[in-house]
């Protein structure tokens, strides 16, 4: 079974799915029909991409009356950020800080 991170990275590794996330970032709570109208793709294709985004937790759906609305869920991206970006950035910052103090020491 793939881990949560695997599902998120796989979901993000596709330009159409990233485009869908950007559309939801601009305006949340949209129907399949609305999202489909902005893409040159069949309804079935958009549904398939939305399902993968939902499985990765990047999109959450809510029923409102007869409509199914899609919401962007930024939590998995935050978790990737905490796990994969923050950690390496801290290291980079401390390397730069070491470099600075080294330069200042020799000056």
């Amino acid at each position: 079974m793939p881990s949560d991170d695997d599902l998120v990275f796989r979901a993000l590794a596709d330009p159409t799915r990233r485009h869908l996330l950007d559309r939801l970032y601009e305006r949340d709570g949209r129907t399949l029909t609305e999202l489909e109208s902005e893409l040159e793709m069949s309804r079935f294709g958009v549904m398939k991409h939305l399902r993968l985004l939902e499985e990765a937790g990047l999109v959450v759906t809510r029923r409102e009356g007869r409509q199914k609305l899609h919401y962007l869920n930024p939590v998995p991206i935050r978790l990737i950020h905490d796990r994969w970006i923050d950690k390496y950035r801290e290291r980079q910052v401390s390397t730069l800080a070491d470099f600075k103090s080294e330069l200042e020491d020799t000056a």
Binding site: M1, R27, G57, V60, R78, D82
Partner: protein, 154 residues
């Protein structure tokens, strides 16, 4: 997320390797909320009609005002929300927060937070966007590792 259009309904979800009871404790007990919820203590009996308050950990300053609307441990908690930490959000009407806890396969629990009725509270909508993801990722880390996020506890 200041560039995002302020949404009147915001939905956030996280999968946590914990039981629904542990997730319920995580959102209702002050000893937990202090470790991931911007360092705040939740104060409530979680009975419908009673207050839901959030207080600064290091004092009695009240940061959030609300009332419990629905409480079904360990499944659902619904309460109103008015942020007092900023005069602009404090002047806005109450919005609503719903916590839904659903067990999944493999010892995982899905927690969904819906913050809605924000139509008349644009400053609050702006203020909480970006905040909830931080709170939920902190709760996940705390329940799964027993430790707060390294950059938490402000």
């Amino acid at each position: 997320m200041t560039t995002m259009t302020e949404q009147a309904t915001q939905v956030y979800a996280v999968f946590i390797r914990a039981t629904p009871e542990q997730v319920w404790d995580g959102i209702t007990k002050p000893e937990f909320t202090m470790k991931y919820f911007h360092g705040t203590r939740i104060e409530s009996t979680f009975e419908p009609g009673t207050p839901y308050l959030s207080l600064a950990a290091d004092g009695d300053q009240q940061l959030v005002d609300g009332e419990v609307l629905e409480s079904d441990p360990p499944r659902t908690l619904k309460h109103t929300w008015r942020a007092l930490y900023d005069p602009e959000t404090a002047a806005e009407p109450f919005s609503q927060v719903t916590w839904e806890i659903e067990p999944q396969e493999g010892g995982v629990t899905k927690l969904t937070v819906t913050h809605d009725r924000l139509e008349a509270a644009p400053k609050t909508a702006e203020s909480v966007a970006g905040g909830w993801e931080y709170v939920l990722s902190g709760l996940k880390t705390l329940l799964e590792t027993g430790k707060p996020l390294s950059n938490q506890g402000m």
